[in-house]
Structure formats: structure tokens, C-alpha cells
Symmetry: D2
Subunit: 293 residues, 4 copies
């Protein structure tokens, strides 16, 4: 019985980077948060503190900034792939790289100034675009795109009944309830060559429309419909994973005050909350490798 | 030398309320967070635990929900005034009420379904609308409207130089910098009868436009311009208070990597940050009373 | 009717500073978060962007670090006073300075190594020590010390009944309830020369003991007792302000499952919560000036 | 090519429960946060909204509270196992249950009252105790215990040099640096019958002591030493996983102010941070099954 080193990785997390591109007086900004993690032949640093194989996390930060200048930042997936491949190809001890990027969206502030001067922006809402890419020295790359903090609510068109009942069940069947959730979604691309920008906006549209269009008998059904919609619409995607907290909205009992409450006034609860998680995929989806790690 | 009771208040904080209004199949939602605080003749509960003057905070929660059903919730300022006046007029021991409300905005999810079925929503961004109203038994009401979490950024049009220099100054003058801030703004109404909905959207527009249009020599100058713009445009407002953290974006030094950085790649720092706070007001603004408490 | 500049201040917020003092192999650490804000003759920067009176916030950051090296950091109140006086005395345009400091506590990690090698620490809990000092060019200094995030709970010894009842009251009287709160307290010193270290630990002890010892008929009564205890025990303090959210713990109704619940199993709710705020002071307390701003 | 349902689970997250046990006038409290997630034969609810197999998340909340009354809550691992087994054994459609619990610690407030009256508590710091248990209908149970938010700092005894260097490396070797991290640790038990209370306190002690005692040439080395110490000391543990952000403390350059800085004054940075993750295990550890999911 000996003590051994198991899976490990290290890197620089949350390198905050804003890039400004000038098209004359019209500016564009990209606001991202980059985390890289490397793994490979790292036994010596763990066991003896010999760091010969360790590319410092500070170097990873520098590389992120330098690559943003050298190569620009267009789609976050492409930028993540560029970084991941660089680490694996340039460092013999690094066998595998994982790069995760978050992107925060900004809108232009409308002004009456000249059309060739546009450099004012306002953050556009809570949804965050995400990606996680892996690149292995065997040549495998995987790309998972995603979003989080997308809060959605249906004020009708949701039911929940016919559920299992045991000695601890007091829930009454609901035939018309508010359904609200904060969607975290991630979708795996068939290859690393998707048109990531177009893909993102279309997947997002599918998720929102399926949420809105589905007459829901359970949040699970809604979740599945959202994943299925994406897979049917977007050939570049082979798997969708969703985590959807059921953010309960309870109708307030107003009868003590001589008032009815025809599903009009709700208490929006914090905790506890339901949490529904699931994957929807093509039956012939390629192997996931470590895409979801 | 005796120990005495000083200023005090008590209430129910953060009553989360969502109201759904049905216009046939077209639904509207209002998503708010209500905090009420009462003060008055509360000596006995503090000194002896005699609660005869204390309307329970639980009752305040109930009242909020019941009033939402009885009176509806249109503009948050009007709903806050309704609650504040109710507490003062109905409870002899309550001499003063403060009601604070936050509102979270939702957009409709566009779908291709029939136009008379609209009940799907997506949270629209990080900005939160706010208000604080006070009502006193002497009949005085004050209304302060506001917003918070409005993140804005100018990628050019900002300078900072000519500042005071002492032995601890190392900052170099900047002639073209990124200016980014997360605006918290509050504005005091001349009366409690403003058209609060229209007023809010116009004040917000003034703040954004003044931020975008002002060629800034200091964040203070931008702050003042934003407040001034509101006061010049909106006669119902007599004072604007702004708190604007200077969210520093530092150009990354890429020379160690043989790269220039013509204000293209920035590190978005967390802490420390500058914090600029200021009030802009009409010289004949009516007395503020406790509006800002 | 003209637009004018009202109260304003600016500074550097949240300068995070850790200081290590070496007593041979025995180290001591001080972990603080410093925010300074200056005000005075700042009209020109607001109106015209003329920054001649503006000592940059970057300089304030530098000053904080340099003063930690030159003067050390013992009690946070003394360090804050040092900084505040420096800004006012060295910058003619600065008429007033406010310095706020948070301190995070660390304990030593017990080890079996030699007693003259002690340099390992573990953060000791959630309570944060705070202070706010003001210094004005008229020579006035005020010092408010405090703490926040001190969570306390009495599992019995708390009642709440005899309260006012109206049409919206459904709360039942409670004769034995859990009382839990997260104390934010601030206390004003008579002078700027208190023994701040000893004072802090004694005030903290008074607050905890009064919370524990008071058989509570209302959270207001507990709040008052806590303030009174401090004032009676500590002559250097003239006023205590407390904000205490009533973090409700509701007994769960287990009767649907054939179980009683003799105040044993509670649901700890998040929102809404009661919020009790109050000041307790000596009737001959000196003028507060801007101590509480 | 068909769309299929992949891995999925659902449950109630963050049921907040405080239990008070009365030993005469001496009270004990247990403060936990319970999340359960069930999986199994859930195809119908996803595809057709048929909920016959779905035990409502509301029922899971009820069960948590009822079991706390019926069975008490001693060690969180035992309580989690009890819940997990209940769901799998009582619901045919539930093939697998995962229960996660967080525990928050409280200390007694010392008072001078009678020794047989002890019911006042203060939250004791930021560290949170955790566990994740899985139970499968094949009879397999796995137990992972853990902690998070344990912040530790060594003010000396840490070096970092001899690392890989590339074109983007600017980091200078460090021969004496501050090493600070916020430990998240989880450790897998060989069986589901460990003495979990004793085990927790001993593992915690091992982690702290190994952090303090290790002269560190890299955070990886420290991480490994912490895991190894646990495995060597505690036979009931077969694997330890650690995630340790390197919370950088940079010495401030004070030379512009004519001051040296002999590793005395540090800037504690927020982002980016290094992130070191690794597993340490026995080479003959039993199969992990889904213990880490």
C-alpha cells in the first residue's frame, strides 16, 4: 500500500481581459475572463518540489494577454483552442490543456453624435457566455460552449401532477403554476470547427424558444425539450447538458385578509429550490473524452 | 450621565414579490423586493420588551402582499408611498415610515406563437431600479428614485492629468484611457406626484447619454455632467446623487514579449478601485428632510 | 434656478494590505482593507475637469502602503487617523478626510515545531473588525469602531407577544423561540485616544454577553441591552449603533408525518427577514459631527 | 441519428435545517444545508411529462425535516446515508441517490450564568464541513467528506524557482514568499462506516499541520504533502482531493518613496489567481464508482 499522485492540473484562473478594437472612431470591445489549466508530467513538483516541468501560472497570464494582441480575440472558443494548443505543443511536459473562458456582453449606448464615433458601451444583462475546450497531445480537441445566468419565467403553461406520493408527500397537484429557472447550459460540438458565433446565437434562441413554447408538465420535460430543440436545429452540436434550478414562486394565501389570489401575487423563494439536471444527446454522438471535465 | 435610546427603526426587509397581470393571454409581470421600516414611539419595546406599539414585521410582509392584490403594483414609487402612508395613518405609535423597493426588469421572449398568448419572459440585464420613500405623520413625503448596477464603459474620450502631486505620487498623466464604472444613482423628486415611469426612463437616458457624450478630464467631471443633464432635462427632479467606482482598466505591458500595446489589451482590475461620490442639485431645491436616510 | 455641486468626496476604496512583522522566527500578520475618501475644494474638477486640487486615488493607495512600512499598523483606528490627518495637513485643497478600515483575523496554526518558529496562520471566522475615522481641517477627529458578520443565536430565552394587531396580522404570539441575528455594530469613542485594542475586545465581549444573558421579549430589547452594556462598561464609548437582522428560524410543522416538533427542527429562512436598527447613547455624549457618515 | 436522454438527476437543493437538542438547560445545535438528488427510471417525465416515477422535490424537503426529528442528526455523513438509502429503498423508480450536506459550526458564548443553562452560540468562522454520499440500488454506498473556505497562510517557508521558462515568462524566482490559499478538500472513505466525527477533526488537523510544516518549493508540493499526511494518519481514508487557489500576496515596491520593503508590506490580489488541483490516493484504493460526481 503506497501513496500515489492521482489526477492533477494547475493553471491561472480568472485572467480578466478587455480588448478594444478600433475601426476608425467606431470601437468594438471584447470582455472576457480566461482560466487555463495544464496537466502532464507533473510528478516531480508534487513529490519533490522540482519545478522543471512547471510553466508558471504567471506565464499563462502573460500568454493570454500577448495572444490577445498577436491573434486578436474573436470567438471565445477559437481563442481558447489557440491557447490550449500552444501550451501542449510548446511544453513537452504538458500533455493536456483545458481552457475555460467567460464572456460578458456589452451594448452600445445610443447617442446622437456622429456615426463614425462610437465608443460608449453599457453592460447588457446577466447572461454570461462560456466555453471549455480541451486539447490533448494525442491531437484530440473538444469544445463545449455554454451560457449561464439566463433567468427565464413562464407565468402560465406549466403544470405538475401525477407524481409519486409517499408518507412524506404533502405537495398538491398544480395545474397552472409559474415556472422560473436560471438556465446553465453547455453544448458539445461535433468538431472544433463550428462557426461559434452564429452557433451561439442560434443555440441561445433555440433554448429560449423551447422554454417559451413548451407546455410543461414537469421541469424535466422542459429541459429535455430545450436540449432536443438545439440538437434538431444545429447539426454542429451533438450533446446538450442543462442545469435548471426550479425557482419556486408560491401564490400567497391572502384569505386571512378577505382577499382571493387568482395566481396574481407570488412569493419568490430563495431556498430550498428544486434542481433539475440532465443531458440530451444524439445516439451516435462521438466519444466525449474529457470534454465535460 | 444616563443611557438613552437614540434614533431607531424596525421593519421587514426584502419581501420578494412577483405579480402577474393577465390581459387575456397576454401576461405582464412585476418583480420587486420590498423593505419597510417603521419608527415612532418605540421606547417601551427597547427598554422593557413591551411590544404594544410594535406592528410585527410579519404583518408588514402580509401588508405588502395584500396591498399588491388590492391596489396592484404599477410604479414602485407609488406602491411605496401607499405602504408608507398606510403604516403611519393606521398605527398611532408609528410616526414615520420608510419604504424601499427594488425592481428587476424582464423582457418578453420573442416567439412565433399567436400574438394573444404572451407569457414567457427573460431577465433583462443587471441594472436594478430602486426607490426610497419616506412619509412622516406631519404629512411630509419624500421620494428618491434610482438605479444601481448600471455598468458603462467609454473606450476613449477620457483623460486624467494636471492632478496634484506629492511624495507618494507615481501615477503618470493619461491622455487617452478607458473609463469604466458601475453607476449607482439616486434622484430626489420635487414632489411625490411625478410621473415615475416616464421619469425613470428619461433620467436613465440622460445618465447614459451624458456619460457617453462627455469628453472626460476626470470621473468627477463626468459625474457632474450626468447629474446636470438630469436636472436640466427633468423639472420634476431637484437633486441627483451618484456613486461611481472607477473600475480601472490598465493597458498590459507587452514589451517583454516584443509586442506593442496601442491601448488594445487591458487588464480589468477588481480592487482597489477609485470611488467618486457626489451630489448635483438645484440651488433652490426644497429641503431634503430625511429623503436620503 | 441654477445647478450646483452638493456634497462630494472621492478616494481609493479597498486597498488590500497584509503586513508581516518578524520577531525572529515568530511572525505576526495584520490583514486589512483600507478605503480613504477626501473632500474639500473640488469644484473645478467637477465643473471643468481641472484636477489641480485632486490628489489621485492612486496616490492614496501608495500612501497606504508606504505608511504601513514607515509607521507600522497596530490598531486600525490609529492607522486610519494617521492617514486622515496626513491628507488634510499635506493637501491644502483637502479639507476633510474619511478613512475606513476592515480587519480580518487570523489564528496561529498549532504545530509541534520549535517555539521560535511560528509563521503559519488560519483565518479565524467570519467576524470582521471595522473602523471609520474622520478628520477635518478645523482639528476635529471622530472615531467609530465596529464589527460586522457576527452571527449569534439563542436557542431559547426569547419571546415575542403583546404586539400591535391589525387587519393584516396573522402572527401568533411566541413564548419560546429561536433568536438569531448577524450583528453589525459600531460604537463612537468620546475621543480619538482610546486604547483601541483593549476597547475592541471588551466591547465585543459586552455585546456577546448581553446577547446571551438577556431574556428577550423583543429583538429591540436585546439590541438596547447590548448597547447599554457597552456604555456601562466602557467609559471611552459614548454611543453604540446596532443593525440586527432577525434571521427567522421557523419550527417545521411535522404533523402531516405523524410527528410532533417540540421546538427541535427549524427551517432557517433567508428572506424576508426582520431588520432592527437602533442607537443607544449617553445623554451627554459629545456632538457626533460627521462621525456616522 | 436519434435524440436520446443522457445522464440526469433531480432533487431539492439547499434545505436549511437547524436542530436544537436539549440536555436539560444545556442546548446543542446542528446547522446544516441538505441537497438531495435522485436518478433512475426518469425517461417518461423527460419525454412526455408523465411524473409517475417522480418523487417531488418538495417531498425530499419534507423527508429531510422529518428524518431529522425521527432519527436526529449527529454526523452529517450518517444522516446523508440514511436519506440516500431511504430514497432508493422506498421508491422503485429511484435507482440512485446522491445527498450532499454542508455543516456550519457554532461555538458557545461564554457567560457567567449557571452551568446548567447554556443556550447561546456564536458562529465559529468561515470553514464549512461538507459531505457527498451516493447510494445505488446495487448496494454500493460511497462517502466523501470534506471542508471548504479554510483560509491558511504561511508568511515564510515558501519558495518557487527552477520552473520552465518560455518566451512569455517574466516571473522571477522567489526564495521566500508568502503562501496563502483557501483550501477546498474532499476525502473518500474506504467504507461507509468510518467514525466520521473523529475522522473529520483528525483530517482537518493533518491538513493544517502539513500545510504549516511543509517547507514549500511549490504549492503542488504542499498539496501533495497535505494529502499524504491524511492518508498516512487515517486508515479509513483512501483518497484525498484538494483544490487550492494560490492567493497571491505581492510585496509592494516602495522604492519610489525612498523605502525598502523587506517582505513586510504586501498587496493581497483578487484575480487572477493560481489554481492547483490534485488527487492523492492509496495505490490499492477501492474503485471510486461515482463517489466524486
Amino acid at each position: 500500500m503506497a501513496v500515489i499522485l492521482g489526477p492533477n492540473r494547475y493553471g491561472k484562473a480568472e485572467t480578466r481581459l478587455v480588448r478594444v478594437v478600433r475601426d476608425g472612431g467606431v470601437h468594438h470591445i471584447k470582455d472576457i475572463n480566461v482560466s487555463s489549466a495544464l496537466s502532464g508530467d507533473m510528478r516531480e513538483t508534487h513529490l519533490r518540489g522540482d519545478n522543471a516541468a512547471v510553466l508558471p501560472t504567471d506565464t499563462q497570464k502573460n500568454t493570454t494577454y500577448a495572444f490577445a494582441r498577436k491573434h486578436g480575440v474573436d470567438q471565445i472558443e477559437d481563442f481558447a483552442l489557440l491557447l490550449a494548443r500552444h501550451y501542449v505543443s510548446s511544453q513537452p511536459a504538458v500533455h493536456h490543456a483545458r481552457v475555460e473562458i467567460e464572456e460578458y456582453f456589452w451594448d452600445r449606448i445610443p447617442t446622437q453624435g456622429p456615426a463614425d464615433e462610437r465608443h460608449s458601451f453599457v453592460r447588457s444583462g446577466r447572461e454570461v457566455r462560456t466555453c471549455v475546450v480541451h486539447h490533448d497531445r494525442d491531437g484530440t480537441s473538444t469544445v463545449v460552449s455554454g451560457l449561464k445566468n439566463l433567468m427565464v419565467l413562464n407565468s402560465t403553461g406549466s403544470e405538475f401532477h401525477g407524481f409519486a406520493v409517499d408518507d412524506y408527500t404533502t405537495l398538491q397537484p398544480a395545474f397552472d403554476r409559474v415556472l422560473a429557472t436560471e438556465v446553465s447550459a453547455a453544448w458539445r460540438h461535433v468538431s472544433d470547427g463550428s462557426p461559434f458565433g452564429k452557433s451561439y446565437s442560434e443555440v441561445r434562441r433555440c433554448l429560449l424558444e423551447a422554454f417559451a413554447d413548451t407546455h410543461s408538465l414537469s421541469l424535466q420535460q422542459t429541459l429535455y425539450a430545450m436540449g432536443e430543440r438545439v440538437l434538431q436545429a444545429r447539426g454542429e452540436i451533438c450533446e446538450v447538458r442543462l442545469a435548471m434550478p426550479n425557482k419556486h414562486h408560491f401564490p400567497v394565501d391572502l384569505t386571512p385578509f378577505g382577499l382571493d389570489n387568482p395566481d396574481e401575487v407570488f412569493y419568490a423563494a430563495d431556498r430550498p429550490y428544486g434542481l433539475i439536471e440532465g443531458a440530451v444527446l444524439h445516439d451516435d454522438a462521438p466519444a466525449a473524452h474529457c470534454a465535460w471535465d
